[in-house]
Symmetry: D3
Subunit: 225 residues, 6 copies
């Protein structure tokens, strides 16, 4: 039995409003692939979370509580996603520990964030590491890892594959500089590296990508390994 | 030491977006009233919750899970409200039991819903009953209890005061008929009756109403007793 | 796989003492019916709970705490009932959420009340709604729904079937008047209506009733639908 | 600030029915003693618990689950007792850890049993040890420790004081023999010994005993030290 | 399906350092025995726990907190042991209740201590009683029950089998005297007796002992029954 | 009222054995400073944790579970530290949320790690951010931040003060290169920056450092601001 973790980025799960069409597509895509895989799915926050948070920021609210609010929003999104699956958890786990316990009982375990300081990408890699998943699908609104932010630089080059260390370098440079090309944070990449988790950064709206990864371990996005 | 519970209706707490100005006003109003009161505040869901829920309804999602999602939204609103107070809980209690435990340690205890089947009005009366509060402020977008829905009937008459039984009758008639004049649900009114909790239904945007109730136990809305 | 919820009323589960013979009969009846159904069973409080509560009432104890005590009594009854089943939960869930999580792992999930303000009938309908059960057996000491209280009115007429709205009307009239014919509370009936749960109100001591409902969806009591 | 733990035996707290008069007396007695003491109170199960348990025993129910049921009964009794106090916990703690956390916030912390294999006497000594209480009042239906069971042997001699080791010997002899003179179990006595907790075994119906112990550390019962 | 509980004593699980070789051997031994048994495994504290505790004792730390620290150490050992098994819990249960719930979902449930006042031997018998296990393997550093401490008395005689009452007598005499021959505490033996659990006290380093017990219910150590 | 968080590094809290002398010194130093500060103290894992973990690594155990074991070890250390304080929590909180709740009730709240992927330094900054603490004392075995690892480079220069960005750069270079000069991880520094928390990196064995920071906000180590 293989385990796979999917990080469903907030940028695709919730835009103007909750992207229920996408949720439905992901659900039916995963159910079509007739394997015995177990799936951990970590859902991001999206626009609604950001709206709440940016409104509150104007009132000088503590960032840590804003993070908590953001995490609560991811859990609502996670709860919404569960309604498209059978053999799935009813309660949204709030720790990796609880999620690991649940994956024993369900084919799909869906969760959101855990605590301030951890992005949902980091939660995804921690979840993958804990249950021994060697495949992590990072489903985002950009179709892979680029040398520079593709929304800003026309000549940005997309990588087919890239090493953990090179990915970390790009992430670091953008984190500490003024860069905007942060496809995944450093902590999540570091954990993926130590656990040997193959990351597929893909356009999460393209269902063929999921199918190709799950059947053949290849994609049109970027593989980090 | 007196205890007071305030039900901050979703209709005023969250409209186009989270009504942070109102949260700030309520906070500074309560802090201006220099008493030793303890406050339980129960926050509703509002428009954002309803958006999520109505979107999901289109996908035939289980009503019970929609209720859970709505409850999660009220807790996010409650968490946001805590940031405007000192001497307030950091975690949002999920049961009356936990809230009762917390009121011993804080001057303000803020919470949202508890479980499907209970409106936040019901949570408010249960909270009031548990901590022995004899005053419940029901802060809504309508400025009292009317004989008929004032948004539909020009001649609807506002009550200055009304008995529990009459309030229950109006609520029942609207619940089981096609009425839209449901200012509070039957369960919450029944609990208020058995516990002898005086309910002040007021326009929650009007800060003078809070001040008059807390200082003189009177208001321009409707008193149910 | 079909899901069924049974509300075992306090009036039959616990009289002079805990009705263990009934528990045993229900257990062996359900096990005889060789289906793949999953069962949620919600147990009421009964006489022992009422004794405690009425004794405490004489000391002017807060009704909300009396409700808590009553809920604790239902959980003891639930724990007792688990001992007559295999493939059943060991811990009594205290929320619908936890119960829903458990029904994935066990064939029988047995629970009592959840929080003040909710009868065990309401818990039953919430549980049914959450797990998608379309059949609710309301096992009581009266053998159906009557036009009037059959213990008082000789000519009271038993309904074979009745609509949700008519059932709600009878319940309302008795709740707010001096009536004593409250077979189920309004909240539970409202939830059953919105979720389309067929309710069978039966004499819970008659094992044939359970068998007929589970095999043929008919009974000698009253069907609310 | 001194800490005191009281073990309110089931034999006095709950006889034919819950002994609410005793609860009220203990409450007003403790409140009359105008000290700054903190009180841990551990409540036993009593007759109602035993009735349930003996009924279930006839159905060959697992002793461990019977213990759980008994523990649940002690918690209901504890909840009932809280209603006679102010500055007291609202939720009944289920571990010594939780109780220790609560004693920081309340003057009175009331609890029942914790887990199978521990009597409420053992819970009392563990609680006392944890919070550094050096006085344990063991309020029972017998007025002290006797050389033999005073209900059977007319000439049984009551000890004014007795050493831990002698108390343990009497307890052991009765535990492993056919004796019925088990005033406290071995585990509780062993913990009291290692922690140097002075135990006052008294007739729990006699309010003067509580007053004398709390004011002068003496009683008409037996002191184990 | 048969249930078996194993008490892995601290004296063999953790000496100079954590005895991972033993953990590995026990794991592969149990997996070789091709039965459908379910296993509860309770792990002791060992030398590391004792080091922490004896260091803290020098600072007059509360024994109850030392017990808590010891219990935490047993849980770390339990967590370490889980890594040698599949179909095993991810979280270490902290109560018998939780462990009982888990045994439904896993073939192996591994835990440490529960609360101060209960040895891991007592936890083992409580766990066995709760899940109806009739076999308890007590894996220690001594190869059975002796008439006297075999490390001190050359002529100490090992029992092949011994009754519960005789075992309790030996345990009592050593507990209250200066004896050092306490192979199991009185509480654990008392529970084993009431539940009719057959205890096999064996040299836990000898894998053949486990095999013989699980296949033929016999051993070279001592059987208490 | 001022809030201060102290990160007691594993390198000083636990060496050959638990450094109880240091615990005692820190406790009496903090109690001597007669202010109304509230303290959060986060305790690291130290040598004992590392021994367990390195032993298990030899058996190819999942890094995530090793992290869990390390976190459990920090909690044992935290529990040990609580015994040197009054007005301190009894249970070790496992989330920032719980710790924030506790700081309302105690002068000192002591905790260890929270979840895999977060160092105790990160937990310290999250805790500080949540409770609005503007001072974080990072008590380590090195007496400040150096340009290079002072244990390897004789000419390494110690900074008196350094900006957040420069500190992050040093940390990054060492994290992704082969460097060993990682005084604090990137996540913790990033949170300190966004929350404006002044970090004092000091030799944690030198009690004068604590006194100078708490009285005058200066030290002989390095200030990051």
């Amino acid at each position: 039995m293989r385990s796979v973790v999917i990080s469903l980025g907030g940028s695709i799960i919730s835009m103007e409003k909750l992207n229920l069409e996408l949720m439905k597509s992901v659900s039916s895509t995963l159910q079509k692939i007739n394997t015995y895989d177990k799936y951990g799915i970590v859902v991001g926050g999206g626009r609604l979370a950001r709206t709440y948070i940016s409104d509150l920021k104007a009132y000088n609210v503590n960032d840590n509580i804003l993070d908590e609010i953001g995490i609560n929003a991811t859990r609502i999104n996670a709860l919404a996603l569960t309604t498209f699956f059978d053999d799935v958890n009813s309660k949204i786990p709030t720790t990796i520990n609880d999620a690991a316990e649940m994956i024993h009982n369900y084919r799909y375990v869906i969760m959101g964030g855990t605590e301030p300081g951890h992005t949902t990408d980091t939660v995804s890699t921690l979840f993958a590491e804990r249950i021994g998943a060697k495949i992590l699908i990072n489903a985002t609104s950009v179709d892979g890892v680029y040398s520079e932010d593709p929304r800003k630089f026309k000549n940005a080059k997309k990588f087919d594959k890239i090493s953990y260390d090179d990915a970390i370098k790009i992430s670091v440079n953008n984190s500490i500089g003024a860069g905007t090309n942060v496809f995944m944070d450093i902590t999540s990449l570091t954990i993926a590296k130590r656990a040997g988790i193959k990351i597929f950064v893909i356009n999460g709206m393209d269902m063929d990508e999921y199918i190709n990864i799950l059947n053949y371990e290849r994609c049109n996005g970027t593989v980090i390994s």
